[in-house]
Symmetry: C3
Subunit: 360 residues, 3 copies
């Protein structure tokens, strides 16, 4: 990635509240505080790295507004509301330079059915297939080797990366990013067991993906048995995630990699699922519920609750159990010792007792 | 999805044993009992929703043959052997209308090697690649952007959806559905460790997928080291499932999403694996064995057995352990208390004992 | 797979130290000892199958140099340093015959941007897209339907299988194999939470894959937030693996299927991760660390250590806990019994004690 910013440009992009010091360097790289060198931009995103600010060789450093230190000679501190957000804005500018919006138009190698509607401002790249009745919105970008089925819709300014498949009748909102290999609208997994065979239940619903959603590489979203599988506005889904049929995902949720959500389950807004978490079918996760990585959710989760473990329990209980689990060998030894002492005490006791001890 | 059925058509499709009441509405939607409105078809698939039948606004309702209630005015009850199966048949009819079999023929943008054999009744869609020696059976459908390697076979009436890859020498049976992004025949994961490096063990076997199998989006099946990796007739595999080299999967099995099966493991007929379950290599799961979601199977499972947990144990034992696990904090407190009581009793005992208690 | 070897050819390929017996059969198959028949090659890869050597019908058997037995009539024993390695060499020869290196050149259906550089000895198969600034090395093979983004590099003799996506600026080393559907360079999963919405942190780094790496079908590797996500030389990655942004994987590691590695985590050389294992973000796994299948690593792991379980613990401790876990129902019964005995003893004790027992 090749880019170049002046200190003045960075001040403008980050909306810095205060400049401290000065740098003449052209900024051509970004690096963590400890690894940065002259010509790099760095930032204090996490307070625990505060001690590294004094020693960093970065030419420009993004710092929280209340940061007290002074820059080295030839170094510029930019004080901002949120250094991570400020950095994100710099990276957004770099991204625009790296991947400028392509010129509108349809590549001659794309296969567009007569009944499809592609906005004049949209870009359909090489070797895409757009079937009849499909609609591609304004300034949308089908990068390359995309499949868009009959009657599928892609909203304005969405970006579908190479190898994405959106099957018939599915709807993708505006400003959505679908990473390579995403499948929107594979069949739900539904069968009836009849006479020793699994008879297919055809899946005739669709998938609707809201505005500003991002879906990671090779994730799969199944179409509903009937009705809709939905992903709410602003939700972000990582790579290799499975969303089953008739699932309803709220707005502004976070689903980390390898998460699996079973059929007809419902997630409220702002739900967060850690990596490799699994959620059983037909249950509800309330608004703002959080699920730890690898957890297996088998029952409803209240709004705002944080659960973890397999099967999932309230986070603090699970944490305590995880600690006690390590002490199980010790606990067994302690119970062995208690039984031995009791056996001795019973011998000493003049009358003994009738209670039977189980074999250790 | 746009469709329309008359009450008479639904009676015919579902093979209803009895009609109760009548509806003049054209049926244009399907919905759950509680959400249905006039013009919708609904059904009682699960007895626990029985109470919702009386209040549903659906115009036509599929009910079990022994259902006792009476329809509202303008409402038709169709009594059938199995409402879910009856609904599946209606959906199959909708599916035919939504996705009619495409006209036979090879799209001009497809790249077909001279030595490939494509049946005249088959459809090869846009931007497919079919290499030499590959065979596409009667009425088979390669939808779009499919790759079929040298000598690969696709049986009659199978449907390969966009982006499917079937590598050289692999065999796909009849009436198989491969969802978008499925890979049949990636290399098995095998290396020999020689002089500090992992030396590849070439994988020169293949994969054979039986008749009536369905495989979900982005699932991967590895070719055998030598010999075959096999999936038996009628087995259904969900999305993002991994099947390693030389695995043998029986007939009519169910593998839910994110399941992983390690090399050379064998599954009997009618095995069921819950989502995110993992199975170690070189073991056997007997006919009809069931594995809970997220379970880790590390040893053979008897025919008909149901295991769960990580490592997997018999289901009822695992369930009991899961309950006791939540009571671990309490158990540690109880043992602390017992030790304290014993210490007191020993002080009271005239002679004491020699037994040492471990430090708590 | 059709192939044929003479006994002399197998002797040469395997570099056998000693021939014992003789066979006139042409070798046309490979099979395990118990399943082999005349015309097959077999091998003793694992000493526990030693007893099967005497009964095998294989015409040629690869055996360790110290094997004592004698072949049957018409049977040839080839004594080698490592039968598994010897077999791998035979399979490599078969692989060359099955999949000969294709002729160099660019298929007319491929879409190559003017600014791309494809070596004259490279093969770019049908329906590939190679964007401007991308470089394809000597004898590299882009099989079919590949996407190579702006400025991406593919090293000499690498093989990219159908449907692989390598996004802009990413680097793939020499002799790398990327299986179907691999995505190198999807965006890292990073957002800042601002005013109730997840604001995207653009990911402007890249991915660098070292020489002799192999990556399994549909695995995904995210580009760095800035800087690089790296996979060291000789590392082997199985199917459906997720590698997050800024992860650093050492040389000669093994990552089994469904493994997930969270952002900024670092793996030393020779690390081994079992199937479905997950590793949290921002931690370090030392050189040669091993992680069991399904384990959840939430803290640093020392070089050479073997951990297992969820959360991961030292392997022997975890194994012991797994055994004790099965005995939890018994432990609860034992504590119940101890409490009952203590209650009796206290009644018998002339003075009793003041200690309170918790309710069972």
């Amino acid at each position: 990635m090749q880019f170049e910013f002046s200190a003045a440009e960075l001040t403008e992009i980050t909306g810095a509240r205060e400049r401290r010091g000065a740098s003449d360097e052209r900024i051509r790289g970004i690096a963590a505080l400890a690894e940065a060198k002259a010509g790099d931009l760095s930032f204090l995103g996490n307070p625990r790295y505060k001690a590294e600010v004094a020693a960093t060789k970065a030419s420009v450093v993004l710092l929280p507004a209340d940061h007290a230190g002074q820059p080295a000679a030839g170094q510029l501190f930019l004080l901002v509301d949120n250094p991570s957000v400020a950095l994100a804005r710099v990276c957004a500018r770099i991204e625009q330079r790296l991947w400028p919006r392509p010129a509108p138009g349809i590549h001659p190698s794309a296969v567009i059915s007569p009944g499809a509607r592609v906005a004049a401002s949209a870009t359909v790249g090489p070797l895409c297939v757009v079937e009849s009745g499909a609609v591609v919105g304004e300034r949308a970008h089908l990068q390359a080797q995309i499949f868009l089925g009959h009657g599928a819709l892609v909203g304005d300014e969405s970006w579908l990366m190479p190898g994405v498949v959106v099957t018939a009748e599915c709807v993708v909102g505006r400003r959505v990013r679908l990473h390579p290999g995403v499948v929107v609208g594979s069949d739900g997994f539904g069968y009836e067991f009849v006479a020793g065979r699994h008879e297919k239940v055809p899946q005739v619903g669709n998938v609707e993906v809201g505005d500003d959603v991002e879906i990671g590489a090779n994730s799969t979203l199944d179409r509903a048995r009937f009705g809709r599988t939905t992903v709410g506005e602003g939700t972000k889904i990582d790579n290799l995630v499975q969303v089953a049929h008739n699932v309803r995902i709220g707005r502004h949720c976070i689903l980390c990699a390898h998460v699996g959500i079973s059929g007809s389950t419902s997630l409220g807004d702002y739900v967060v699922l850690g990596g490799q978490a699994g959620v059983a079918g037909h249950i509800n996760l309330g608004r703002g519920a959080k699920v730890g990585g690898g957890a297996a959710v088998t029952a409803d989760v209240d709004a705002g609750a944080f659960v973890n473990g397999s099967p999932a329990l309230p986070y603090m209980l699970e944490r305590r159990i995880a600690v006690l689990r390590e002490r199980l060998p010790d606990l067994f030894r302690r119970v062995d010792a208690l039984e031995a002492v009791i056996a001795d005490l019973k011998k000493l006791s003049p009358e003994g007792t009738d209670r039977k001890m189980p074999a250790p």
